[in-house]
C-alpha cells in the first residue's frame, strides 16, 4: 500500500524526485504524446524492475550498474521496434525521446534503490506505481498545455487508438486564438513549475496538521 502511494503521490518521480524531466517537458505538447511516452516508460520500468529483481541473487555488485543499463537499453530497443511497427505515427511524433527512455534516471534509480533489494512481486508493484505516477504527470501536463496552447483536447488520438478515436477530439473552435506560449518550450517550464507549486500547496495542510499533533504528544 505504501509502495503504491509513494509512486503515485508522496514520492512521485515526476513531481517530487524531479527525475526524467527531459521527456516530461519535451513531449507534453499534446495529451496523446504524453500518454504514449508515459506508457512506454511504464513498460520499460516493469521489464527492468522484474529482470533486475530476478537477477539480484547472483549478480556481482561491482558490475551491477553496467548490467542494469544494458537491461534497460535492451528493453527500450525492443519497445522502440514494436512502436515503430504498430504505432508508426506516434513513433515519429515522439522522435528521439523513445530511445532516450534509456537515460530516464527514474528507471535506473528504481532498479538500484528498490528492485535490487526486493522480491519480484514487490519490484513489479513498485514499477507499476512509479510508472503510473509518471504517466499521470505526463497526462496532466500534456492536457493542460494542449488545452491552453491549441484549444484542443485528445488531438491525434487516432494515432494510438485507431481511426474511430478521431471523434473523441474536443476542440474549442476556431474562435480560440491559441496561446502560443503554452505550446512553446518556456510554457513547459512554467506549467511544471505551477504544477509543483500546486502539489506543495495541497500537501501543506497535511504538514500543518501533523506538526501540532507531534508536539502535543511529546
Amino acid at each position: 500500500m505504501s509502495v503504491c502511494s509513494a509512486g503515485l503521490w508522496r514520492n512521485n518521480p515526476g513531481l517530487v524526485q524531479l527525475l526524467g524531466l527531459c521527456p516530461l517537458l519535451a513531449v507534453t505538447s499534446t495529451l496523446i504524446n504524453g500518454l504514449a511516452l508515459g506508457l512506454a516508460t511504464l513498460l520499460t520500468l516493469l521489464v527492468s524492475n522484474t529482470l533486475v529483481s530476478v537477477s539480484r541473487g547472483w549478480l556481482r555488485p561491482e558490475v551491477r550498474i553496467a548490467v542494469y543499463v544494458l537491461i534497460i537499453a535492451c528493453a527500450v530497443s525492443a519497445i522502440e521496434l514494436a512502436m515503430n511497427a504498430w504505432f508508426h505515427g506516434l513513433y515519429t511524433a515522439l522522435g528521439i525521446f523513445v530511445p532516450l527512455i534509456v537515460t530516464n534516471c527514474t528507471i535506473l534509480a528504481r532498479a538500484e534503490t528498490f528492485a535490487s533489494r526486493q522480491p519480484v512481486g514487490w519490484a513489479m508493484v513498485d514499477a507499476l506505481a512509479m510508472g503510473t505516477g509518471f504517466t499521470g504527470v505526463l497526462i496532466v501536463l500534456g492536457g493542460l498545455r494542449e488545452l491552453l496552447g491549441q484549444g484542443t483536447w485528445l488531438a491525434g488520438a487516432a494515432l494510438m487508438f485507431g481511426p474511430h478515436a478521431d471523434a473523441w477530439t474536443f476542440s474549442a473552435g476556431d474562435a480560440y486564438p491559441g496561446f502560443l506560449l503554452a505550446a512553446l518550450p518556456p510554457g513547459a517550464f512554467f506549467a511544471l513549475g505551477l504544477l509543483l507549486a500546486a502539489k506543495n500547496w495541497i500537501d501543506r495542510p497535511v504538514a500543518a496538521q501533523a506538526a501540532p499533533a507531534l508536539t502535543a504528544d511529546s
Binding site: L18, L19, G20, L21, C22, P23, L25, A26, A66, V69, L70, A73, C74, V76, S77, E80, L81, G95, I96, P99, L100, V102, T103, N104, C105, L108, L181, L184, P185, P186, G187, A188, F189, F190, L192, G193, L194, L196, A197, A198, N200, W201, R204
Partner: protein, 193 residues
Amino acid sequence: MADYALILLGTVLVNNLVLTQFLGLCPFMGVSRKLETAVGMGLATTFVLTLASLASFLMHTFVLVPLELEYLRTVAFIVIIAALVQFTEMFVRKISPMLHNVLGIFLPLITTNCAVLGVALLNVQRAHGFTESVLHGFGAALGFTLVLVAFAAIRERLLLADVPGPFKGNPIALLTAGLMSLAFMGFSGLVQG
C-alpha cells in the same frame, strides 16, 4: 568555414540543448545549486559530449551500418558512452589528480545525462558528417555549460529572495528556467535552421 561557424552558433544559442530541446535537464536542475559545481559539471560534460559524438559517429558509420545492425543503435551508443565515461575518469585520475578532484564526482553522472545520448542520436537522425557531428556535440555542450552556469548564478541569488511558500525551492527554479527559455527564444531567427 562559415557553415561550421553557423552550426556552432546555432547549437549554442538558437537550438540550445537545455532550453529549447529539453535535453540534459536532470543535471540542469540537480547540480545548479552552487556556481562551482555547475562549472565543474559543465567542463566534464563538454569533454565527454564532444568525445561521445565523435565515437558514436565512428561506431555508426563503420560498424553498425556495414553490418546492418542499425536497430542496435541505442544499446551500442549507451555502451560507448558508459565506456567513454569510465576511460575519461581513469585517464583524468592518472594525468591530473587535481582535475580529478574537481570533475570526479560528476563523471559517473554523465552516463545517464540524456544530452549525451540525445546528441549522438540527433547526429544520426540528421545524417551529420564527421566534422558536423563533432561540432554539433561541442556546440551543444558549450550551450549546456553556458546555461547551466548562468542558471546556477541566478539560483544563488534566488536563495535570498522572498518567495511565497508553495513556490519555494524547485517550483521557482522551474519558473526561472522558463524565463531564461523565453529570453533564448529571442535568438531564434539569428541562424536559419
